[in-house]
Amino acid sequence: MNQRITDCDKGKRCVIAKVHAKGSLKERLLSFGILRGVEIELLEFAPGKSTVEIKIGKMRIALRKEEAELIEVSCA
């Protein structure tokens, strides 16, 4: 079942199903390797839950919650 990465359990490996961003944000996410079919993992929330840290391959990326919610994933 597909869900938003922000709703996943910490440390669980999921696969990106769709990136709902548009325009320059979409390009930015693409350039960080946030693509369909790529493995993704939710690592940590910042205090206040407003920012999240995810892991793509070996790269750790910090995203604001609103942007992270645009990443739709499917978890095994």
Binding site: L25, E27, L35, R36, G48, M59, R64
Partner: protein
């Protein structure tokens, strides 16, 4: 002999600047967070009879022109003159780094790949077959380690060889359907004998993926009418095949697949169980939702404690040295005026500034560690939510912290902010982060008015309060001048890396040397000017009158009379006149004319405040007692409330001349400087008034 221009390109945090450091021993600023190379830097050196110039370009993830820095790099690669691209990649994360490499390959330029951090990769059990990688990509790839200084000669030889040999087109391989469409358009361009600086295959590919520059070159060509329907068809096919409505996404996936294929071919990872990495373990603690912020605040507190406590040890020696120097040099000069110029002017002024070198060094080491270990990005992550509430971007944190060192690089590093509104907002509040040059004033006043024991805490409080004022100012600006939608926050959190001591040494010694150089030149000159303005015009009649009375008076009275004379002479000097004129303006803040003058000289450079105070209070004070330090003189002559108000003004008023110039350039116009002047002046005056009134109550 040739002169070869090399464009150094890579993603952020791959060690580009460190590589240059290793190759040429140049002193560049190297760091482990996004946005250290804020402008392109050139380094020239000779190698095997060739003149090599390396242009260090800002790190970029891809050619999306997302930030100003990415635009600088892209612009340079497209339109500037250079012979070879040196693409630096992080061997421990080849797959991600090849994203940029594959984009570079589409530019049809001579290129060499430096597989940097190969020592680290080896430790992690990653083995790259460099020869096979070179064959697959059609680009020579060399294993190097900037930290261990290995492979550098081989890399330079490869660059020279690539430069001398004819260009060979590197080949990006895509999936069948995309290759078909590319070939189709390539054939069309060939048939119409279209010629450009890059190959027709690459033009075809760039057109398909919607790259703006290629469109611009072809749009004015009559071919365009025939080409357009072809392109539309091809893009439609690609989109259908990839199941997306975004051709850029399709190409990103193609690049990714290509890179993944290459990586799986050339990397032999020793099959170890994936263990929890060191970075993960450190992060578990440092970005812990509860402890993270406390740890950060503790680090900051410890830094300022160290700055004061550790810094005060060598300060006594420096102070003693300048006291001795003044006497030694003074003894050799016969002429009274000349002696006073050298001892009270230059030595007192420069000495007052040099005195704070230990503090500066500690602060710079602290900031360099923050920058180069990767901790800075973690703090940006922790604080983004908090910053966001004040209308700031989490990445604003990086220029703001840099601002604790010096405002000038801080203004420039604000370029990592994509959105102009965010960037301007950050520029406006960087000045509230007290820079290193203001530290001497704080150390002086904290020591003089709060006692040695609590001075470190006062220092910490000053910096935190300054930052808070900045945040509130940001909120007010965001609600009024910079209204608008918030920008996305997407930031890489680099691996933790232990910075080499050489690197820290380079950064700190360069900055300290600049500080000392400024003390020797600019501040010495300013001290002489202040000395002149405070010694002239002479009042011979008054001096003669006092001289006679001192002659007649008994010992202890003579002493008081001498002081009174100095005081009156100072008040009649040019500086005294200026001070007296502006004194009423500062009376509500409890400043005497000397403090008012010191503030004005601080507009040139903040260090001058201390040297001015040194000259003004040395002249007017008890010169007989040689052990009288400036700190004690200030404590005796300035009321506590005035001192507090003075600190508040220093925290908030206009940055120095050099910083103001850079601010104006970065903000994009003189009108922004006017806004900055009005904002800082109003804030400084109002807050200082409140602080003065409040301090009077104690």
């Amino acid at each position: 002999m040739h002169s070869i221009r090399i464009a150094l390109v890579g993603q952020p945090n791959v060690g580009k600047s460190m590589l240059i450091n290793a190759i040429s021993d140049a002193r560049l600023h190297v760091g482990n967070f996004t946005g250290v190379t804020v402008e392109k830097t050139e380094v020239r050196f000779r190698f095997q009879g060739h003149d090599l110039t390396i242009i260090d370009l800002p790190g970029t993830y891809a050619f999306t022109d997302y930030t100003i820095e990415e635009r600088v790099t892209h612009e340079f690669l497209c339109s500037d003159h250079y012979d070879v691209i040196l693409n630096v990649v992080d061997s421990t994360n080849l797959e991600k780094n090849l994203q940029l490499t594959s984009e570079l390959m589409s530019m049809s330029r001579k290129m060499v790949i430096a597989l940097n951090m190969s020592d680290e990769a080896q430790r992690e059990g990653i083995e790259i077959d460099e020869a096979y990688l070179s064959t697959l990509l059609g680009i020579e790839a060399i294993k190097v380690s900037a930290a261990q200084q290995t492979g550098l000669g081989k890399l330079l030889k490869a660059i020279v060889r690539t430069y001398e040999e004819p260009f060979r087109e590197p080949k990006l391989q895509f999936s069948e359907p995309i290759e078909e469409e590319i070939a189709n358009i390539e054939r069309f361009l060939d048939r119409h004998q279209f010629k450009a600086t890059i190959s027709n295959r690459n033009i075809a590919m760039n057109l398909l993926r919607g790259e703006k520059k290629s469109y611009r070159t072809l749009r004015d060509n009559p071919l365009w009418i025939e080409l357009l329907p072809l392109l539309n068809d091809a893009r439609a096919h690609i989109e259908i095949h990839h199941g997306t409505d975004d051709v850029k996404e399709a190409f990103a996936e193609e690049f990714f697949a290509f890179n993944r294929g290459v990586v799986s071919e050339v990397i032999k990872s020793s099959s170890r169980k994936e263990q929890v990495s060191l970075t993960q373990r450190i992060d578990n603690l440092l970005i812990h939702p509860i402890f993270g912020i406390s740890i950060f605040l503790f680090f900051m507190w410890a830094l300022f404690q160290l700055t004061f406590e550790l810094g005060s040890i060598p300060m006594d020696w420096i102070d003693a040295f300048f006291g001795w120097l003044g006497e030694a040099v003074g003894g050799t000069i016969g002429n009274d005026d000349a002696r006073s110029l050298v001892v009270d002017g230059i030595i007192a002024g420069v000495g007052a500034v040099v005195l704070f070198v230990p503090n500066i060094v500690i602060l710079f080491v602290g900031i360099a560690l923050l920058e180069s270990t990767g901790y800075m990005s973690r703090v940006a992550f922790l604080l983004d939510g908090f910053f966001h509430k004040f209308g700031l971007h989490g990445q604003s944190f990086i220029p703001l912290v840099t601002g604790f060192g010096c405002s000038i690089p801080a203004y420039m590093s604000a370029r990592i902010l994509k959105n102009d509104r965010d960037r301007l907002l950050t520029l406006f509040i960087i000045g509230f982060m007290s820079c290193g040059a203001r530290l001497p004033v704080y150390v002086l006043f904290a020591g003089a008015f709060f006692g040695e024991e609590s001075a470190g805490n006062v220092l910490f409080a000053i910096y935190i309060t300054g930052a808070m004022i900045g945040l509130v100012a940001a909120k007010i600006l965001k609600l009024t001048a910079f209204k608008g939608v918030d920008e996305p926050f997407v930031m890489e959190m680099p691996k933790y890396r232990l910075p080499s001591s050489k690197l820290i040494w380079h950064t700190v010694s360069t900055k300290t040397w600049l500080y000392l150089k400024k003390a020797g030149t600019f501040i010495a000159a300013a001290s002489m000017l202040v000395w002149f303005l405070s010694n002239y015009p002479k009042n011979e009649a008054l001096s003669a009158d006092f001289a006679a009375r001192i002659e007649a008076a008994p010992q202890e009275q003579a002493h008081l009379l001498q002081n009174a004379l100095d005081q009156q002479l100072l008040e009649q000097s040019y500086l005294g006149m200026i001070g007296k004129t502006i004194e009423p303006l500062f009376a509500p803040l409890g400043f005497d004319w000397r403090m008012a003058v010191a503030l004005q000289t601080g507009l040139a450079a903040k260090e001058v405040i201390v040297s001015t105070l040194g000259v003004l209070y040395a002249l007017g004070s008890d010169v007989d007692e040689g052990d009288e330090t400036l700190s004690k003189v200030l404590a005796a002559q300035i009321p506590f409330a005035s001192a507090v108000a003075f600190i508040v003004v220093i925290m908030t008023y206009l940055p120095c001349l050099a910083a103001s110039v850079v601010f104006t350039r970065e903000a994009g116009g003189i009108k922004y400087f006017v806004y900055l002047f009005i904002m800082t002046t109003v804030v400084a005056y109002v807050l200082a008034f409140i602080a003065y009134r409040a301090a009077l109550l104690f």
